[in-house]
């Protein structure tokens, strides 16, 4: 079978973060991890081309996935494999979107990434095979990927036994006992020694390691970003007030202050009276401009990014984070101030 392999700029050997902005391109044959994958696949399947895109470009450009898919189809792909992206968010998002587009177009496709990769939900109905957390697990991951490709090539459906990542859905049900009675029951069983019992799995929260401090703030470009739902008055782009599904951007070039009546917060999660009397207090443009004028910071980025945090799903918020990081990197921003409510 003719296989096309997708990798990011790093695994294609085109460079690290400095090359993350490059657009889609095709390379002949195998590149980087594709070489080991080709060995593992043996004679039956051939990697005919490698398609590549920079992580920032792929994560911040909606047209990247269809463009890459077109390149794969032009190279005669009968099957598309993306990754492994391990735990990398932008790369994972790019792989997930590409296999989702391929699957929707009827081209068999699979991606490989760590089950906690924030991009994973964007794969939709396309299969994702589990990868390790880092590239140290390259060989065992590619062994699984090769086996999964062999099975997928026969037209079979991949299952958990193939290393496919299953989505765990929490499905609501009406049960006999009300929650208060179940709570009493659970307390008594825990007191009796079943310490680990719980209805909802606990823990597993991300701990984000802070980035290194900005080297020289006086020459850095700083962005303002917020989940406080600050938008032009009247909310012309209809940002949700709760349970966000998207984020927006607004230019602030030449704007010194977010004036009441011109800007407002449409967040449904707190009383917005004080925020709307002075929107600078939830998105501190006035203070940032003062720092810019004094030269304390180099330059303020010419737009801000905004969504609403109220009731927004964690998975959605993680995806916004990946997309924002790609956007800001592409724009040459070194640091961002995120205001939350």
């Amino acid at each position: 079978m003719r296989i096309v392999h997708y990798v990011n700029q790093f695994y294609a050997g085109l460079g690290g973060e400095e090359a993350a902005g490059i657009g889609p391109r095709v390379l002949d044959g195998t590149v980087g991890p594709g070489r080991l994958l080709a060995q593992l696949l043996g004679e039956a399947h051939q990697i005919v081309a490698t398609i590549v895109c920079g992580d920032d470009y792929a994560a911040s450009t909606a047209a990247a996935a269809p463009e890459l898919l077109g390149m794969a189809q032009a190279a005669g792909a009968e099957l598309l494999v993306a990754g492994p992206a391990f735990g990398s968010g932008r790369y994972g998002l790019a792989c997930a979107r590409l296999v989702a587009a391929a699957h929707a177009a009827g081209l068999p496709a699979l991606a490989a990434m760590h089950p906690d990769n924030p991009g994973i939900t964007d794969a939709g109905a396309a299969p994702v095979v589990a990868a390790g957390a880092t590239s140290r697990q390259m060989r065992p991951t590619l062994q699984n990927v090769a086996a999964a490709i062999a099975k997928l090539a026969t037209g079979a459906t991949l299952t958990v036994a193939d290393g496919r990542v299953a989505r765990i859905a929490r499905v609501g049900r009406l049960v006999e006992q009300r929650a208060a009675a179940r709570a009493v029951e659970l307390v008594l069983r825990r007191l009796a020694g079943e310490r680990e019992l719980t209805e909802v799995p606990i823990g597993g929260f991300d701990a984000v390691a802070p980035a290194a401090p900005v080297d020289k703030a006086t020459s850095a470009t700083i962005a303002l970003v917020t989940e406080a739902a600050v938008v032009p008055a009247g909310n012309p782009d209809r940002l949700e007030s709760a349970r966000a599904t998207r984020w927006l951007r607004y230019p602030i070039e030449g704007v010194d202050s977010l004036d009441s009546g011109v800007w407002e917060s449409v967040d449904g999660g707190f009383a917005t009276t004080a925020a709307n009397a002075d929107p600078n207090r939830v998105l501190p443009l006035d203070a940032a401009r003062t720092l810019e004028r004094r030269g304390t910071i180099g330059r303020l980025h010419n737009e801000f990014l905004v969504t609403v945090g109220n009731g927004t799903q964690v998975a959605t918020a993680r995806r916004f984070g990946v997309e924002w990081a790609a956007e800001l990197r592409k724009a040459g921003v070194q640091a961002a101030i995120l205001t939350a409510t």
Binding site: A166, I168, G172, R178, L186, V187, P201, G311
Partner: protein, 424 residues
Amino acid sequence: MSALRRIIHDVRSVELGAVTRYEQHQLVVGRDQVQALFAEPALASVRVHTAVPGDRVRIIAPLDVVEPRSKGPGGGVFPGWIAPVNRKRGGDTHVLRGAAVLAAGQLPRNQEGLIDMSGPAAERSPFGRTHNVVIEFDRADDASWQEAEVALRRGLLRLAVHLADAAVDAAPDAIEELAPPHRAGTPTGGLPRVGVITNLQTQGAFKDVFVYGRSMAGGLPTLFDPAEIEDGAVVSGQYGHPALRNPTYLHQNHPVIAELRARDGQDLGFAGVVLCPEPVQQADKELVSTHAAWLCRAAGFDAAIVTKEGAGNADNDLMLKVDALEADGLTAVALYAELSGADGTGPPLVAGPRRGAVVSTGNYDQRVKLPAVERAFGGTRLRIADAEAIAAVEVPTAAILCALSPLGAGRLTCRSEQQLGGVA
């Protein structure tokens, strides 16, 4: 703390009539008497309706819900509102079980919810199963919304007492003796001492809960007499997240207290109730949580069930308390609603404890299809669905009043299921 007897009168039908009366499980609500009870300068008019189980009726934008209760001619329920706080505690309280009074209509910061009296929403709300007296209202032109809300609350509390007054001479269906909790240091025959911590929302106008008529904002947790909760010492003025709301009715019938009492002396000793504010600042949350854990230890608890009201902010209060209790060597279980998205695949908790355990009250985002109804009260449109009030709609569970009850009144939970592939 005080002993209380609940004198139970089962209500099996409710209708409107000339004069309020109760006989043979039948409650008649006097129309003119209701008007007199809501005669408040801040209210231009009120209309009274009934909505009973099985009716094809929807109640839009429900506000507070109250259970009719009375201590007889001397009064005494709802201290701090329509009874003095300094009165004799305990004694007999008449309860119209199966009846509820509630207001419905738009109010600032009331997140719009609904109650259906039949269909899937009726199964998910405790108020789809009660015989309801529904009050619609119009605010007086010269009154503020805050004044109208206070007037409405006073009217609801007066109506609740007025209806229960009609039953005080009727033969009871049951008499329930409620013993006070076991004091610290008294023997429980080796049974573990289990109590409950109930967080009350304290976020200002329309998002506040009253204890003896006062907000707990700025205060510290307190050990509280459960007999006083039965008698309406905790009254809600909180209109956030409909499914995650604790109306006065559910404080009067606190589900965790009821379940602890049901097993008291069998496999646990009911150790008591701690009420806490839900402050909005992190340092205050930490103080309240640490102090609540200390109070539970001082009151001799071995374990505590922790409840909340609202989401987000409130989830942090819950998490901090469970962690503080477990760090102090107490066993803790929290009641949380999950926020795992319409398809249930998102992470279920936005904030969770590091140890302890969590009981699920359902998934906030799971969607429920509701059939059309014949009649609606409280409004002519359901704004969250952008539909006629009586239309067939699909809503998140979050919109159904008390469907995810943080006090544990509901029968919803969630279970993990493995699914391959995406969701269309």
